[in-house]
């Protein structure tokens, strides 16, 4: 049984699929995630594939400050991702609310108060290198989680 689990964990961490959910940010983080899929940073080197389908995702990247009427949609979408999953809060907005925090009627961040967040990647926006490093770390977390 352990062998099967080990094999499964190994294969899952070998090729995790990424779901990228832009949730009310300024697009800055989103275009840096796009840059990560480009030839210069190329997350496919690490076996990752950005596929916008929650049912098959292993890593969820959430960017943005989560405005009020996106909160339940975001929650439902992330709940559809099968366990084990890694949720990354990418960028300052998702981590803490960033510049939009304060007296703001609209936003519902920090993301940690809505969803269980496994990894934080702060930055406004984070450089693609920092995003890559976050993804590499989350792959390691995913292996641990699926054991």
């Amino acid at each position: 049984m352990d062998t099967i689990r080990a094999i499964r964990s190994f294969s899952r961490a070998k090729s995790p699929w990424i779901l990228h959910l832009p949730s009310g940010g300024c697009n800055g983080c989103d275009i840096e995630v796009l840059a990560c899929t480009g030839p210069r940073y190329d997350i496919e080197r690490f076996g990752c594939l950005v596929r916008q389908n929650p049912r098959f995702a292993d890593i969820v990247i959430v960017t943005g400050a989560v405005p009020c009427h996106l909160k339940s949609s975001l929650k439902r979408t992330v709940e559809k991702v099968p366990d084990p999953k890694i949720v990354i809060a990418l960028g300052d907005c998702a981590c803490t609310g960033g510049i939009f925090s304060g007296r703001n009627y609209s936003i519902r961040t920090p993301l940690g108060s809505i969803l269980p967040v496994d990894l934080y990647v702060p930055g406004c926006p984070p450089r693609p290198d920092a995003i890559l490093s976050g993804i590499i770390r989350s792959v390691a977390l995913l292996r641990e989680k699926s054991l």
């Binding site: 009310g24 405005p67 939009f100």
Partner: protein, 542 residues
């Protein structure tokens, strides 16, 4: 008699001789009109070929609200913007809707109605635009309270659409998260077989209350806030905001600052258009081209990082000038990168233009006729692709645009291909402007920022606009004499372009929808900023 005098004379006639006007510089006129004559004034301005740029609302405390209609006369020989103000009471804010006269007012009135609780009488459809549909009615009279976490937790399922839009045909909901969309937004597409018959769009899923936050922070802190309205056109936002604040205080920025700002704005246009092209190629399925463009785009981002220290948020403009200089080594490096970039852009654009598959996907898809473009008031490459030659850089030159030479790319077809070609032409123009700016920077000495910025008078107002990558970006800033603005109204280009989707998409096949939506380059972070008024009367304003 100048066009300005003619317009003001006719406005006085239309509003029954009770017009009071005042000027702020040669290209801006502010007139106060009676509340009941809003329709007549709008009709007069439309006769002059004016385009309704935006509607702002200024909260005057217990005196009520000023509803300000910003009209732009693009065809005038000199730049002219006329802002007509009508005052409404606080207790029962009611004003005549001008949407039946011009569809340009549709979204603007809906936005102001939900945010300030103003009723536009005669508006056909005053549903919530930005706020959730189940957000309690009449926000202005108290739904949004200070600091309170009010409002709804409801999701996209709460979006209700008018039934008659679909007329018994199938209705396909797209969003809030959808593989076809890059940003969260909700589309309802009515389809008959393969053909799209009706479109309803619910933006607001990226609403961060930026305008409200801007009022609570100092002018300097706001520079960084407006930079994050949109990460793609951050330089344009800061340039427009800083220009507005400089207009408030009558500050002239040094020459070097003007060239550097222009350079950064054009660099951003290259960055934005290449990004758009990459996404369009992705939607078409031309993956090798996507990768090629993403590879070359890194040059722009590297350049921005080299100059400003940040790839996306450059933070170059500040009130009174720019933060960092481009000189010596950095200038030579920028020049070298530009020539490599120019080479890459030329080959990419010739490949895109000549590829028969790309042409076939884009040609004749999502046609917006010139007449419709004028009627809907679209801006930027969408307008220029439909043969409307409007460009703020030419019609109301700012920074260094009156000194550099460039052409306006236009096409008359109005389809997705025309919009693509406009953007490709603009890439070449932008590269040339960048080179000219660097040339001028080399020959100009002096400071990069004005010595000091004076304090602003209570009630001072400024209307600034720049040509962002997606079109005319408008900032209306009102001062209350403190170090915090009384109003920062942001009207982004996508706010004008997105409503045009209902016209553009009609008659297209469902399979073409992603590409056609993409062809207008809708930026939803831009669309969804704006504010809500707080309960009660604003303190500090008599």
């Amino acid at each position: 008699m100048s066009i300005k005098d003619r317009v003001l004379e006719r406005l006085a006639e239309a509003s029954g001789g009770t017009i009071q006007g005042y000027d702020r510089g040669p290209s801006r006129a502010y007139v106060r009109i009676p509340k009941g004559k809003v329709g007549d004034v709008a009709r007069t301005l439309i006769e002059f070929g004016a385009r309704l740029s935006a509607i702002s609302v200024v909260d005057l405390g217990h005196r009520g609200f000023d509803v300000v209609y910003h009209h732009s006369l693009d065809q005038a020989e000199s730049p002219l913007m006329i802002s007509a103000k009508a005052q409404v009471e606080r207790e029962e804010p009611l004003i005549e809707s001008i949407t039946p006269l011009t569809p340009q007012a549709d979204w603007a009135e809906r936005e102001m109605a939900e945010m300030y609780g103003i009723t536009f009488r005669g508006h056909p459809d005053l549903r919530h635009l930005i706020l959730p549909p189940d957000w309690s009615k009449g926000s202005g009279s108290g739904a949004v309270q200070e600091g309170a976490a009010v409002g709804t937790e409801g999701g996209g399922e709460g979006v209700r659409l008018p039934r008659d839009l679909m007329k018994g045909k199938a209705r396909i909901p797209v969003g809030v998260y959808h593989p076809m969309l890059i940003e969260p937004v909700y589309f309802a597409l009515g389809v008959d077989g393969e053909r799209i018959t009706g479109v309803d769009l619910k933006p607001g899923f990226a609403h961060r209350g930026i305008m409200k936050l801007a009022e609570e922070r100092s002018y300097t802190r706001d520079t960084f806030l407006v930079e994050r309205v949109c990460g793609i056109c951050s330089a344009s936002h800061t340039a427009a905001y800083c220009k507005g604040v400089e207009m408030l205080g009558g500050v002239e920025i040094p020459d070097r600052a003007r060239y550097i700002r222009t350079f950064m704005c054009e660099l951003e246009r290259i960055h934005s258009h290449t990004l758009w092209l990459a996404i369009a190629m992705d939607l078409i399925g031309f993956d090798s081209m996507l990768m090629m463009i993403l590879r070359e785009r890194e040059r722009v981002l590297d350049m921005r990082e080299e100059i400003s220290g940040g790839r996306i948020t450059t933070g170059m403009s500040k009130i009174g000038g720019v933060r960092r200089d481009i000189s010596g080594d950095a200038l030579a490096k920028a020049r070298a990168s530009l020539s490599l970039l120019g080479d890459a852009v030329a080959s990419i654009s010739s490949a895109v233009r000549s590829d028969p598959l790309v042409r076939r996907r884009l040609e004749g898809r999502g046609v917006l006729a010139a007449r419709d473009a004028m009627r809907l008031g679209v801006v930027g490459p969408v307008a220029r692709g439909s043969g409307v030659p409007m460009d703020v850089r030419k019609s109301d030159p700012y920074d260094a645009y009156s000194e550099v030479s460039f052409g306006i790319a236009t096409r008359t077809e109005g389809d997705s291909l025309a919009r693509t070609e406009v953007r490709l032409d603009e890439l070449a123009e932008s590269l040339s402007i960048c080179r000219q700016c660097l040339d001028r920077l080399e020959g100009t000495a002096g400071p990069i920022a004005a010595e000091e910025v004076p304090e602003f008078d209570d009630g001072a107002e400024a209307l600034s606009r720049v040509e962002a990558p997606r079109g005319e970006l408008l900032y209306y800033i009102v001062s209350n004499g403190t170090n915090q603005p009384a109003l920062v109204r942001i009207r982004t280009p996508s706010f004008m372009n997105n409503p045009a989707l209902s016209t553009i998409l009609k008659g297209e096949t469902f399979a073409d929808a992603p590409l056609v939506i993409g062809s207008i380059d809708p930026c939803l972070s831009c669309t969804d900023r704006i504010e809500a008024v707080r309960q009660g009367i604003r303190s500090g304003r008599a």
